[in-house]
Symmetry: C2
Subunit: 407 residues, 2 copies
């Protein structure tokens, strides 16, 4: 091939795409037929495909769903359903109607459209450290730099955010509010009020990412930033059906003021015109015709059992070797620390190769390199109690045989 | 609302999105219950939904299609099918395999990913004048400026391109090669060879957009740039199922060298992770199980009849009033000129309001303002012979009663 592509690629393509260690870990898990604590996705046997297939058949009888128009913002019926559902859940301020809901290709597209609408090259974004790596990727792609904000088990630390806002002109705060990826923490209502007050004072937008909201196994959900902000409409709320229906429906949504929704929809026309309305219809038909609460209850029961089993197995076999972690009230992840183990990436490769147990080293969740070297993310999404027990035993063996500092 | 969004929006969101006159014309058509020559989309009764619904049911039995992985580049089976199909059609050089095929959300996503991968702010793009407005939108969004290249009924003019390349450092040439939108022209093989030679000489990439390729009603297709270039792999070829299956399946594809496909796929992960694999599977199952040629033959017959009817009606009723146009061998569009009528936008609004006939003024297809004031695009995609006759009569009446220069 006679073309030197590096002389043709944009700065974005050349310099802003960093490859994912998660992909490498998943490849190693498959290659070594390992037990996996790596999955960032829900468990396939919980996908309601039978019900969805009844609904998708109806969609394939309606040619209007297969034209270009008028679905630029997404199928109106589903946008209406989402607005009504979120109102019933108390997540929305009064002003939100279907006009304020944009359907997206997973909440990832919501993150990306918000990044396009808000970030100019060199802009500073405040985000939790650690946080979701594909959000970091998207913000870097748009040319952002970062001001990391500390979190503990009650979520984002307002004092840390205040320091950040005093020292940087911040464009927006990106925060995963419930059962955060990777730490599992949920920001309390009290802290949210303080964060909101700070964002109001510094005129900072909030990108409230909430894909795990309905995967709560006990306790009560705090108020959303979106509802707490009320008429001070500085919040873009991102929801997703990936974790509660299936990732492959590729359907999320963004709630925002109309003028923001218009911009996001316009950016999407430039990116890809519109999304497949037939799938949106199938999802709408599924949601309106059966009790979502029953389905969510089934998910919550399954994941609660898995969380408890993994917690218990780790407590018995790995905590005695130095692991510490908090138990989250929901979501898919446990976040651990093994003080003294200062090269988790090398340990993770060792564990999957030597003992056939896959974990995700925590380093990849930090916006700045060299952080979280002793941290680790466990997913219990696809881990049965039997796998939890065997996996924890393997992990313990790996810890006993691993030689830190080895070349 | 207390947030001044204009102080928060990015330059991209604030300055680079121009609204579409097509949307306005379509709204006016609906509002006035007009006969429409505006549609840029295929006719809904030709969508093979019954066959697709059999296929989509199979997809909804396979949970693997509803996970995140491993579909970042799109469903492998469909990519393999496309590679084999295009090889059989002689559109591909030898080096192309499924690895060189990326599935996209319509070819619009292919345009957008290519724009992200290749355009830095201020870069110059060569494109046909006139061309597809949503490509212009996407390139503007990425911060491009334009060097327009002239076309005639045999497609792009190599001499015009040579002038452009001598005067500008051009990043890539964007060209719609068959039955161009809006002019209907197809670039001949001879001209393609010259264009390719120029692009090689100036080391310019070619973005070969070919969504209308299979809507050929007579004559023989020229060789693709992709195949003509051979091992000098400087072509990104964009295909689409929107015009030959249905726009709502939102499935197109890009063929390019592996290192380009990797970049595009990586950019897409940042944008939206992946596309709905279930729809890709449905499409694959539909394509492999029936004779695509039979389906295409049905489309070609239907659209040929419609083209002929519209040509004939316009010749009888509107050509005598000054309209001139060429008859394309395929696609969905006729491109006309009415010399002396120097404000087609105002005329189009008048025609839909006064005579209930919708057309698209040609001005919107030009990358530079003030061009093509006497041009007009007719679509025959959704126009039956009866509608063609009545629409041409209405258009003639509108031309007779329109007062140019009126406020």
């Amino acid at each position: 091939m006679s073309v030197n592509w590096n002389t043709h690629f944009s700065t974005m393509a050349r310099e802003r795409l960093h490859s994912s260690l998660i992909a490498e870990m998943i490849r190693l898990v498959v290659e070594h037929k390992a037990i996996s604590f790596t999955a960032g996705e829900p468990s396939a046997e919980l996908f309601p495909l039978e019900e969805l297939s009844t609904s998708v058949l109806k969609a394939f009888k309606d040619p209007a769903l297969f034209s270009y128009y008028p679905h630029n913002e997404g199928l109106l019926e589903l946008r209406e359903w989402i607005a009504a559902w979120m109102h019933a859940d108390g997540l929305l301020p009064k002003w939100v109607t279907a006009e304020n809901v944009l359907l997206t290709n997973g909440s990832q597209e919501g993150i990306s459209l918000a990044a396009e609408a808000l970030i100019d090259e060199g802009d500073c974004i405040a985000l939790e450290s650690p946080t979701y790596p594909e959000a970091i990727l998207t913000f870097v792609k748009q040319g952002a730099r970062f001001a990391p904000v500390a979190v503990d088990k009650d979520g984002i630390l307002p004092t840390s955010l205040e320091d950040v806002l005093n020292q940087n002109r911040v464009k927006f705060l990106y925060t995963i509010v419930s059962f955060q990826n990777p730490t599992g923490c949920t920001t309390s209502t009290e802290r949210r009020r303080k964060v909101l007050e700070l964002c109001r004072k510094f005129d900072v937008i909030i990108l409230e990412d909430d894909p795990y909201h309905h995967l709560r196994y006990e306790g009560k959900a705090p108020a959303s930033y979106l509802s707490l902000a009320g008429d001070d409409a500085r919040v873009l709320y991102l929801g997703s059906f990936s974790k509660i229906v299936a990732p492959g429906v590729r359907c999320g949504w963004t709630v925002a003021p109309s003028e923001v929704i218009s911009k996001l929809a316009f950016l999407r026309v430039a990116n890809e015109i519109s999304l497949p309305a037939a799938i949106q219809y199938a999802l709408f038909d599924f949601l309106k015709n059966r009790s979502l609460d029953t389905h969510l209850g089934r998910l919550q029961d399954a994941y609660r059992t898995r969380r408890n089993a993994l917690v218990s197995a780790l407590e018995r076999h790995v905590v005695p070797l130095g692991l510490s972690f908090d138990v989250p009230e929901g979501g898919l992840f446990l976040w651990g620390r093994i003080p003294g183990l200062e090269d988790m990436v090398r340990f993770a490769r060792f564990a999957v190769e030597a003992e056939k147990i896959g974990i995700i080293p925590g380093t990849i969740f930090f916006p700045e390199k060299g952080e979280g070297l002793d941290t680790i993310r466990f997913s219990f999404a696809k881990v049965t109690p039997e796998m939890a027990e065997e996996g924890a035993l393997r992990l313990a063996r790996a810890l006993r045989t691993f030689t830190p500092g080895e070349a």
